[in-house]
Symmetry: C2
Subunit: 317 residues, 2 copies
Amino acid sequence: MFEKVTIIGLGLIGSSLARAIRASGIATIIVAADNNKDVCAIVKKLGIADEVTSDIRRSVSGSDLVIVAVPVGACANVAEQIGPSLKAGAVITDVGSVKQGVIDALKPHLPSTVHLVPGHPIAGTEHSGPEAGFAELFHDRWCILTPLAETDIRAVEKVTKLWEACGSKIEFMDPQHHDLVLGITSHLPHLIAYTIVGTANQLEDDMKSEVIKFSASGFRDFTRIAASDPVMWRDVFLHNKTAVLEILQRFTEDLTALQKAIRRGDGKYLHDTFSSTRDIRRQIIDQGQADYRAPGGLRQEGTPPVEVPHKASGHSG
Amino acid sequence: MFEKVTIIGLGLIGSSLARAIRASGIATIIVAADNNKDVCAIVKKLGIADEVTSDIRRSVSGSDLVIVAVPVGACANVAEQIGPSLKAGAVITDVGSVKQGVIDALKPHLPSTVHLVPGHPIAGTEHSGPEAGFAELFHDRWCILTPLAETDIRAVEKVTKLWEACGSKIEFMDPQHHDLVLGITSHLPHLIAYTIVGTANQLEDDMKSEVIKFSASGFRDFTRIAASDPVMWRDVFLHNKTAVLEILQRFTEDLTALQKAIRRGDGKYLHDTFSSTRDIRRQIIDQGQADYRAPGGLRQEGTPPVEVPHKASGHSG
């Protein structure tokens, strides 16, 4: 399928891709490039790539597929570096959580002889770095591709095959629509989780230790999300500003309405709101999106709650 | 330990208590009382109590321990009903998520011959009703007791033994301090989760179906919390108004600051905030609070992430 694949950026996603691509056998040579030499040393030790280099510019020479797996904010710089070294006809893809911003960052630096197919695997954990990666990360997960109107269909097919080989399901979307949908499903939840954990973090020490002690009552779930990579998330918010601010506005209005209901003692409004949200959970369960599997195939969460109501998730008042 | 224990309210917590008390052998007779006859029928079928009745008033006669396990808003009415039938020297406890509000609701209706020891087990799932209960729900979980200054120490000891027999660890707290700590660890997270899922619920249908499809990217975690019992949570917010509104104020200020940083493109502020929150997660993991176990003892979540970094939790941008 591919002679030589270069992965630039060996964090959780990049290093998982190296493992998944090798396991799938769709590439003859895998080159891992990262400008952080400590990361390169770890990747070498892990033995998940055929070549490891901190010279990003050179890493792409002769590659028929280049995967940019750096934080969104570093994409422009990477494109600028690799642009002149790219092979004619090469396919370039990325894994960024924002799509229009990444297209704007990459495109000006790429020669017209290469094909850009932006992508976003909906997969990850709260852990980061090359050691956190694993080959099964993308199994049964969605990967959203946002090809441009002018993109060569054969390049799109190649990237589709790449992700299918990693076990993913493919969805196509307009880049701006992607940014709005992910703004709701991912960026806002992360922003809120960071906020609530940040608020707790500012408490006096003795109160903070009690919050940690009794975190099983709801708070804990937010801390997992709020432990995600700070650089990645800084870049997401800087590059999906418009969508995030718009969704945040809606959220704030809804929160203000609930706040007002609490202040007024409006039990009916509270009950109606809290009842309406159960339905979405049910639909997520119905669509098999509520569970995830660990590498060994062990089901770890939330499925199926109707038949197995005995799961202690620790949520309580 | 107890001759006759009456549990009033056979939801998730009440029915789990019935099972746990029976498994522990600390009570000779377990009476289950619920004013909902459908619930009584299910409890009878489950066979988790020795007597099942919808006559709450009578259910407590002769009991040396009465556990009120109804939503916080129903406590006053229950106390009014059972007050005249309580045996002299009986111990009354509850499981409410708010403590000062419950004390205010119960106390005026209880004769001076009985001993009130308010309690709150930090345990639960997003499922509700008698079928959702299981005996191991309280294993290794905290139970917070908030006895009043005038409470007989022997009554406090009895309630302590009850929860220890159910596998819980005991913590003592002032009722109002409890309400503030739980306001942060539990009430605010639930309010935020209800809000964010509610905001998504108001989207147009096609957008909503995409949110469900790609919910693994963060949103999903909120839907589990937002599937919690609406009546229970309505009552929590109505009875812990002051603490919740104060904490909500702090949260809103912090969210506004992040919003402003996004609008201004202040990457340093975002990065600093997102970095500070990782530490709390680490402390939760260090204290062994990050994992929970299913009844069979299977570890289901988050432990230990350093040695097992391969867990796919599905969080990503």
